[in-house]
């Protein structure tokens, strides 16, 4: 079933279709929120939860002639920003421990992931939207309400930093 068909069903009051939407979008939503929020699991869970609630409550505002995915991610990133702002002064000890436990199987990609996490958020978020979610530059610009050239430049700079990082790592090895 396509996004549009699912949305139509939700709009007409079919709550089980909402679960279908959740199944379809949950995985990438939680991955995205986790990276955007620096691997803070509970913030990411809150952001995803609030995003789906907002989607459900505002589904009547969604214009069906436009793609759903960018609309969804716009809400998700707004929620991430809201939660980050709300909790900017609070750091949970539990979260720090959780973040420090990295699966040894991931070692190959761990350094690069840390480098991505180390990017400033204005570089990191477009990178996540492009490389994890497959959005095009114009779509990223729409989601983040930025000029497409700004996004191009942020992607370029973020990518350059990651490239430099990987090349330095290769040389060191």
């Amino acid at each position: 079933m396509s996004d549009q068909e699912i949305i139509k069903q939700i709009q007409s009051g079919n709550d089980s279709a909402f679960r279908g939407l959740y199944d379809l979008y949950y995985d990438y939503a939680i991955r995205t929120a986790t990276i955007v929020m620096n691997h803070n699991a509970s913030y990411a869970a809150d952001a995803v939860q609030e995003t789906f609630i907002r989607v459900y409550q505002n589904i009547h505002l969604y214009q069906s002639d436009r793609p759903f995915k960018p609309w969804f991610y716009k809400i998700l990133l707004n929620e991430c920003n809201r939660i980050l702002k709300q909790n900017s002064k609070v750091v949970s000890v539990g979260e720090i421990i959780e973040r420090s436990q990295i699966d040894p199987k991931l070692e190959d990609y761990e350094d690069l992931y840390e480098a991505i996490q180390g990017l400033e958020s204005h570089n990191r978020t477009p990178i996540v939207l492009k490389y994890l979610n497959g959005f095009k530059e114009q779509e990223i610009a729409d989601i983040l309400e930025e000029n497409v050239n700004t996004i191009k430049s942020r992607l370029f700079k973020g990518r350059q930093k990651l490239k430099t990082f990987l090349e330095a790592k290769e040389e060191a090895n």
Binding site: Y26, I30, A41, Q49, I53, Q86, I102, Y109, L132, E167
Partner: protein, 268 residues
Amino acid sequence: MDDKNLDKEINKSLLKNTNDVSSKKEDIWKSIETKLALDEKNKRLKQEESTMELQPRSRKNAKKRKKSKGWLTGTIAAAILLGIFTTTTDTGQAFVNNIKEYFAPEKQVVEEIEGMPEEKEVVLKEGKAGYIIYIDEERYNLVEEDGFDKIVFNQELGEQYPEVSMSIRQVIDQTPEQLAEEIYAELQNSYATVREVETVNDPVEGLLISAIDGNEWDSLVTRVYIVSNEKEGSFIIEQKFFLEAEEGHGARFHHMLREFTIVEIQGE
């Protein structure tokens, strides 16, 4: 490293390092279901409540409800417990160039109205007089009337209902103390009871003059808050409603005013 390889590496890294984050799927779903069920319940209660707001009730009942609820204490407790309200009661000047960059264009808040938590979305509005405020657009509109901003109830009230509004204007050359004296005198001319000017910290830091015109359900209530504009002037915020609506519109105006923040508009 060539570009294609780099793209692949980035993609793999993002995927592999987030493979373990999906385990809470069912827990999150349960929370969503619970919260939406709660919201449905609150929505029903809100609808019932707004119907009740439009029906005059006896003063006796209103008083009884007022005594038993202790809404202000409840509101503060709920705000602390839920941690949802932001602490934007600070009316100090925020030197912002682009207001919307600094404030969320909309946000969810929980307010306690007549003893019930009410979750709603509020929308950022920029007033011409140099301030921002979040408005519950489901119930209120920001309009311009007589040259200044007025937040008005967006449903049509019958003729038997007194005005429900909150107007905001700036007076650039009079201090809150000077204005309080004048407003106190004016209100004394038209209201049966006018309370002495008091200093308040909530919902804004400033002076308050309260006036009421009797003890009937439809007795006029006016609350005037006067806040320094941090220069030589003041903001005058005038709330108007009627006695029976004190715990409804009165409480909502109070919550809205907590989000009142003075801003310096670019170019001024």
